[in-house]
């Protein structure tokens, strides 16, 4: 989701403009300082290199202003979270502390409809009460259950309880709950058993077990009169004794919750563990068994201080959050104004000095009990609710305890709880604050006295809700960022950008960061290491020495016979004396050493056939080459200068070749064309243009101009297709071709040619060996790591 910077409206991730105000929604990213990757805002670690993007020590305090500014407008009401808020966001405000279970109970999966109310009960609570009427789908895990509820869930513990435990305030149960249990226990047990400590089972549950035990073992005793025992508790006793033939089956009709019924049924089916004892009506109301506030309900005229038999719970201070709740009631609804109380007006507030609640009298507190809380009271005793003490009918299990209810049991039906007219209620005395057990302390809402400072969270808590199902209630925890926003909420869109866009952005950033110095930076030269230099020198020396040294007086190399050389020899041998032969000197100076032997071999044969040589070149250095070879030819006997004609250099490239051939074939034309070249493109030009000329000559009825070639060994592989296709008259290449040509002519091998052939043989073998050795070495050494 994208929060609009203008109106704070949450927009979809793909939105470019705010759906509310139309403001553009910008995307921002966090650049990783390590790898430069652009990460979505909200990332703590880089997606690419996992570098931490947010400093670990960045856990600012939670000022009030920052809370309101960074979390946006305070979300009214509580919307359900879709994902837990990230730690980074919650850590700033400190508002995402674990919500206590008692409040989480209100955050059910469904938000109650505002219009659905149940009397004076707030909408959310009424809805919650209805939801709890259905058994939860998931069983409560043993981890979440306190010990006493674990034993309750096991439902076998009562069978192991030999006798009724001592009615002492349980260490893990609030006193008021303990008192509630004790209140219900004497209703079925006339006399208190011998005190036996129960380590895991609370007293009141133990009492239930005791009550159910005699029902299975023996006829239940007569229950206590309704005037002395609340009817709904009496109903519990009767229901527990329902398996007994003497007991009337009243459990289902009397409004006992199903989960308690289930407990009782199972307990009754167990072994009898207690002997029925005669009931003592007064035992249920003795101060030691009831908390003060319940005692005050039963005996309005008696103050907690006047009850000597009351346990320490009567003097124990109430929890702060309950005191705050009382204070809130007092402030907003004065005493006697209970009829004005509504769900929108009251809710436990977190901050309330204990002294203020202490100033509130017991009767006042009873009078300030709201209707909705009263409606949560004796749901299970709906039949005899009129006989219940007024304080006791409010004794409803809290919601957090409702959530811990064993699966398969029905909650108390609040809808069946009658609502007494506000004016008819007697003032409740002794409604003191109960002790919160230690295991509940962590879940108690935090409260800080104003003297110690008020945090932003507390300030936000103090403001009442203005709308929603909890409107009018103060003391609520503020809406958390994780409640109204996704966990990985980012103010910018997390839409994956195209790679090209990211690369372009990175390039721009590099340019901006690098400035002008980033451009024109000289590229570092590749460093040449000394081993590489040594290898180069060694290889060069090996090749040079192999080409210079003579290893044997006997020629090592002996070229095989070559058909193209034989054809060339036959072509030249067929020339008539005085035939005009055009020779193109189109080889470069780099190939002079090789091409000179080819020129000499062919020129010697041509001169021996008394041919007239016309030399031409399409290269600028051609005239010099022609002059050099003519000088060599003129040094031979029986060679007249008239037989050697140089046309020199002809410019124009291919056009020059065409011009040469055109001028040469203007008259009778040459009898043979010899192309001496080491450049493939030159031979191609000669071959192509000769084909054009030959086409014209054939059209005129003239014979075609034969073409022979002498090429360097390096150019031979490339020129072989042309030579095989167009130079059917023959060709030769390299020293091997010269040797073969001399051999074809029947001449003895020339020593200089044989020596060069031997050097060529050795160097080629060495080159092949070095190549194979190097390849094998680097194959075993491994591939070079690039970059």
């Amino acid at each position: 989701m994208i929060r609009c910077p203008k109106c704070n409206t949450l927009n979809r991730d793909s939105s470019r403009f705010c759906s509310e105000c139309g403001a553009p929604l910008y995307r921002t990213r966090i650049r990783c300082p390590q790898c430069g990757t652009l990460n979505p805002v909200g990332n703590i670690f880089c997606d690419q290199c996992h570098t931490r993007l947010v400093p670990a020590e960045e856990t600012p305090a939670t000022p009030a202003a920052k809370l309101t500014e960074e979390t946006g407008p305070r979300v009214q009401g509580i919307s359900l979270p879709t994902r837990p808020a990230p730690a980074g966001e919650s850590g700033e405000t400190g508002a995402q502390q674990p919500m206590p279970d008692w409040l989480m109970g209100f955050l059910g999966p469904e938000t109650p409809e505002p219009g659905e109310t149940s009397g004076a009960v707030p909408d959310g609570l009424a809805e919650r009460a209805e939801e709890t009427a259905t058994p939860p789908e998931e069983p409560v895990t043993p981890v979440e259950l306190p010990d006493w509820l674990t034993s309750l869930a096991e439902e076998s513990a009562p069978a192991a309880v030999p006798s009724r435990p001592e009615l002492e305030p349980a260490a893990e149960l609030p006193d008021w709950l303990t008192g509630l249990a004790e209140e219900s226990a004497p209703a079925a047990v006339p006399s208190r058993p011998e005190p036996e400590p129960a380590a895991e089972l609370p007293d009141w549950l133990t009492g239930l077990a005791e009550e159910s035990a005699p029902a299975a073992a023996a006829p239940a005793p007569e229950p206590e009169p309704a005037a002395e025992l609340p009817d709904w508790l009496a109903g519990l006793v009767e229901e527990a004794a329902s398996p007994s033939p003497a007991a009337p089956p009243i459990a289902a009709e009397e409004g006992i919750p199903d989960w308690l019924s289930g407990i009782m049924e199972e307990v009754s089916a167990a072994e009898p563990i207690l002997e029925p004892e005669p009931q003592e009506p007064e035992a249920s109301l003795e101060p030691a068994a009831l908390p003060d506030w319940l005692a005050g309900v039963l005996e309005p005229e008696e103050t907690p201080a006047q009850r000597p038999g009351a346990p320490a719970i009567s003097a124990a201070p109430a929890p702060d959050w309950l005191s705050a709740w009382e204070e809130d009631i007092e402030e907003e609804h004065p005493i006697g104004g209970r009829e004005d109380l509504s769900a929108e007006d009251t809710w436990p507030e977190q901050q309330a000095p204990a002294s203020e609640s202490a100033r509130m009298g017991a009767g006042e507190m009873a009078a300030e009990v709201p209707d909705w809380l009263r409606a949560l009271g004796p749901r299970s005793g709906a039949v005899a609710v009129e006989a219940l003490p007024e304080g006791l009918e409010q004794a409803e299990l809290p919601m957090w305890l409702e959530q811990l209810r064993p699966p398969g049991t029905a909650p108390l039906d609040s809808s069946r709880a009658p609502e007494a007219p506000p004016g008819e209620e007697a003032p409740v005395e002794g409604l003191t604050r109960a002790e919160i057990p230690d295991w509940l302390q962590p879940y108690r809402p935090t409260a800080t006295s104003p003297a110690t400072g008020t945090s932003a969270l507390e300030m936000a808590v103090s403001a009442p809700e203005s709308e929603g199902p909890l409107s009018g209630l103060a003391g609520l925890l503020p809406a958390l960022p994780g409640v109204d926003a996704p966990a990985h909420f980012a103010p910018t869109m997390a839409v994956p950008l195209p790679q090209t866009v990211v690369q372009e952005a990175q390039l721009w950033q590099q340019l901006l960061e690098g400035g002008a110095g980033a451009q024109g930076r000289p590229k570092p030269r590749a460093r040449v290491t000394w081993p590489a230099v040594v290898v180069r020198v060694m290889v060069a020396l090996v090749l040079v020495l192999a080409s210079l040294l003579r290893f044997s007086e006997t020629p090592l190399a002996q070229p095989p016979e070559q058909p193209n050389v034989s054809a060339l020899y036959a072509t030249i041998e067929a020339l008539q004396p005085g035939a005009e032969v055009w020779i193109a000197f189109d080889y470069t100076l780099a190939d002079v050493d090789e091409m000179d032997f080819i020129v000499e071999a062919l020129l010697e044969h041509l001169l021996s056939r008394e041919a007239r040589i016309v030399a031409v070149s399409t290269l600028p250095e051609g005239p010099g080459l022609i002059a050099d070879r003519f000088a060599w030819a003129l040094g031979r006997p029986d060679v007249s200068p008239d037989s050697l004609v140089s046309r020199g250099f002809v410019a124009g490239g291919t056009a020059g070749v065409a011009q040469i051939l055109t001028s040469a074939t203007a008259d009778a034309g040459p009898h043979l064309l010899v192309v001496l070249t080491s450049r493939p493109e030159k031979l191609k030009a000669w071959v192509e243009q000769t084909a054009v000329i030959n086409g014209a000559r054939l059209a005129e009825g003239k014979p075609a101009l034969p073409l022979v070639a002498g090429v360097s060994a390096a150019a031979a592989p490339q020129l072989r297709p042309y030579l095989n296709a167009s130079a059917q008259a023959g060709w030769l290449s390299g020293f091997s071709g010269v040797a073969a040509y001399l051999q074809a002519r029947g001449l003895p091998p020339r020593e200089d040619i044989s020596r060069r052939l031997d050097a060529l043989l050795v160097t080629q073998w060495l080159a092949a060996s070095l190549l194979a050795a190097g390849a094998l070495f680097y194959l075993l050494a491994g591939k070079q790591k690039t970059g």
Partner: protein, 210 residues
């Protein structure tokens, strides 16, 4: 207008005339073709003069501005002027020209060619260091076969394994190399034909400004 149309018209006309003179040997088309080819030779020769003058201008400018490479430019200018004068005086087959040709240019170019051979050999040795794939293996195998197969042996008969290697080398030159070269030649020919047609039809006007 003249800068755009006239060069294009001249180029198209010259191309058509040369083409017609080559395919239709009917007078005066062959003569016109020969004349145009002569003009091309003149233009090519004049291009050499322009290149020589441009070389002098660049290096004289560098000498005038100074800086890095000034000494090299000085040597280039002096060599060009001296050789030009001497060749004009003695001709291409003169003593000075031939001495420079055989004593300076030929050894220099031969040394560069030999250095290329050594560099290629070193590169082949280190091929597996930087690249290992099927192409590298094929390349090295072909090089080895061609090196060994083209050795003019006298002490080892062209039989047995050596004969096989020589046969493989010859087959490589006759079949794969020939096929590749012919393919390239056909491609080049088609490219030239297409370029020529584009010029003839005015689709490409390399001789005009646009």
């Amino acid at each position: 207008m003249f800068k755009r149309i006239l060069p294009t018209a001249v180029a198209i006309s010259a191309g058509l005339l040369v083409l017609l003179g080559a395919f239709i040997p009917v007078d005066p088309l062959p003569q016109i073709r020969a004349v145009l080819i002569d003009w091309a030779m003149f233009v090519g020769a004049f291009a050499f003069i322009l290149a020589y003058l441009q070389l002098l201008r660049v290096h004289l400018t560098r000498l005038r501005r100074g800086g890095k490479g000034k000494s090299t430019s000085l040597w280039v200018v002096l060599s060009a002027l001296v050789v030009f004068v001497l060749v004009l005086w003695q001709g291409p087959a003169g003593a000075v020209g031939q001495t420079l040709l055989r004593g300076l240019l030929a050894p220099g170019q031969s040394a560069l060619l030999a250095l290329t051979a050594v560099t290629l050999l070193l590169s082949g040795m280190r091929l597996f260091k930087v690249r290992r794939n099927l192409g590298s293996v094929l390349f090295l195998a072909v090089v080895l076969v061609m090196l060994i197969g083209s050795i003019p042996l006298a002490i080892v008969p062209y039989q047995g394994a050596m004969g096989t290697v020589v046969g493989v080398a010859d087959w490589l030159q006759r079949v794969p190399a020939l096929a590749g070269m012919r393919g390239l030649a056909l491609g080049v020919a088609l490219g030239i034909l297409l370029t020529g047609l584009r010029v003839l039809f005015g689709m490409t006007r390399p001789h005009s400004d646009d």
